[in-house]
Amino acid sequence: MLAIESLHVRVEDKEILKGISLNVGAGEVHAIMGPNGSGKSTLAHVLAGRDGYTVTSGMATYNHANLLAMPPEERAREGVFLAFQYPVEIPGVSNIYLLKTAVNAIRKHRALEELDAMDFIGLVKSKMKLVDMDEQFLYRAVNEGFSGGEKKRNEILQMAVLEPRLAILDETDSGLDIDALRVVSDGVNALRSKDRSFILVTHYQRLLDYIKPDFVHVLAGGRIVKSGDASLALELEDRGYGWLEQHAGAAS
């Protein structure tokens, strides 16, 4: 599904990612953990195609295509989804209008017929149950006046409606109370399938109590310093990141 090879990324003059290699197979869930400033969010943004990052070397192949050469909307249409750490507000544009425009842009790209209003509303309503959202949210402006938890649930709703092949969740657990965390995690779990892969970027092990990863990677100082299975996350909870950061420091 996704193969990242020796990816180096700069922001302005500063090298943030110093050679990341990662393989994500279909249906796998990978957790990327690490201390603040380690480059976790940079990796998520570079994969989604955000401006302001310069790839100096390395590559990322997505379903045998050069991911980094595609404009961001094409990556989205090809099935890459980023759940934002800080979802933006768009005053005046209703949630349902955004969703419908997005769904139809993606369907058009895949040479599918655009959905009409009736079919679309049916689809959205079925997905809303996943994240326990009230229908009134559909008619409110995108994220405007939403609480932190509502915004994150809205991200998961968008993911459910757009049905990506690769979903990257950037610190989706940050700022969530325990109930919201459970709703969000249930939503993600319901979307797990053998064709859909996930990258969970998170600082805390807490999210992984709810979404069980197949692999855990620790990012420190712009490199993956350790990879393992779900038990690595528990070890991190016990020991913190310090021992691994030292390890990264020694290697650089």
Binding site: G49, F81, G92, L98, A105
Partner: protein, 482 residues
Amino acid sequence: MSASSREIEKLIGQGYKQGFVTDLEADTFPPGLNEDVIRALSAKKNEPGFLLEWRLKAYRHWLSMKSPQWAFVHFPPIDYQEISYYSAPKDKRGGPKSLDEVDPQLIETYKKLGIPLAEQEKLAGVAVDAVFDSVSVATTFKGKLAEAGVIFCPISEAVQCHPDLVQQYLGSVVPYADNFFAALNSAVFSDGSFVYIPKGVRCPMELSTYFRINAANTGQFERTLIIAEEKSSVSYLEGCTAPMRDENQLHAAVVELIALDDARIKYSTVQNWYPGDENGVGGIYNFVTKRGDCRGVNSKISWTQVETGSAITWKYPSCVLTGDNSVGEFYSVAVTNHFQQADTGTKMIHIGKNTRSTIVSKGISAGRAHNTYRGLVKVLKNAENARNHTQCDSLLVGDKCGAHTFPYMEVKQPSARVEHEASTSKISEDQLFFCQQRGISAEDAVSMIVNGFCKEVFKELPMEFAVEAQALLGISLEGSVG
């Protein structure tokens, strides 16, 4: 500059699609303005004495006036002797009697603009008066309107056929001495539309005028007069375009609306005069005085405007709420891009008791453009329980443009309630990236956000025009993502 801001600029910078010139033989006055030019104009139109006198009074008054300086727009002084004050397609047959006799080239021009004049091709239920430079070239559905008693014709024809109505109402809302451009218009106005809705009649179709400037070095000075008698109602639309030229051209129109007891007038504008190129060369100076008088009790006048064109817009469609319980509304979307300047807004003058007014203004600036809202809410001493609500929102696209708001309030009646809300927001790169990440292109994202911003105004437009306005907005903002 980041990729997404380049996209914005590209989006905003798209072409003007109505910029072609029709090659027609024209009857054009040499440039220059003096009393003889006005006499010649009046003679050409075979006008009655009262009108010539009125024009001359206006001209003499205009000579004593100075071009207004208070608006937030900048342009070099206009040489009024360089402009030709009359241009009309040359008519070889002494004036068309029916649509069949209109020069096919003119019909073709309007067809290219999306305004079919042949009635069988017409948008169902919209009657059109087509004004080309200084004259009206065709008016559709006259017969059907006449059955209902509605008069819809060029104002030059109304001067001939209904001189009493013209004499009674012309200048009764915008007197010739009102302001510099209104005085100039009163002296030299060439054509425009005239509408009269008799007592108790609901006009059976939308009325519409399509203004087209074609000739070079001419000014367009049209005059529109709409009278709605007791308990009548009418919805009127105007659209405008011009060829792309490097010189600036002057358009100084006057529109007067009169609503008597229980009458309703809805006036919608989609203004798309040539805005100049992306370096600010050329474009129309759109200096227009529009005012409606709610003269009767319970009357209502509603202005809706979508302003995307013109190099400079100076325009304040206003309501004088004379009758008790009368209602005035102003809904506006003004888009400026590149080097366009707009200083636009409204005046609501509350005179009668229980008068109400609503102002919703949406200004969008992109490129290096400046967009100003200027509005006056005035409540006179006798206007007990007057109410006003003003909402004034600005949206910035990119970081080189400007938005300005100048609300004025003068309240002389203690029971009045006047509210003003304002906001300024910006389309951010975060918003664009978010939309792109959901599969939506930057262009579609800007257009989606802008349309969302303008929703409240678009819902006031008649249906066919709401669609046109949305499309126009997309074109005006093309090249704005950058």
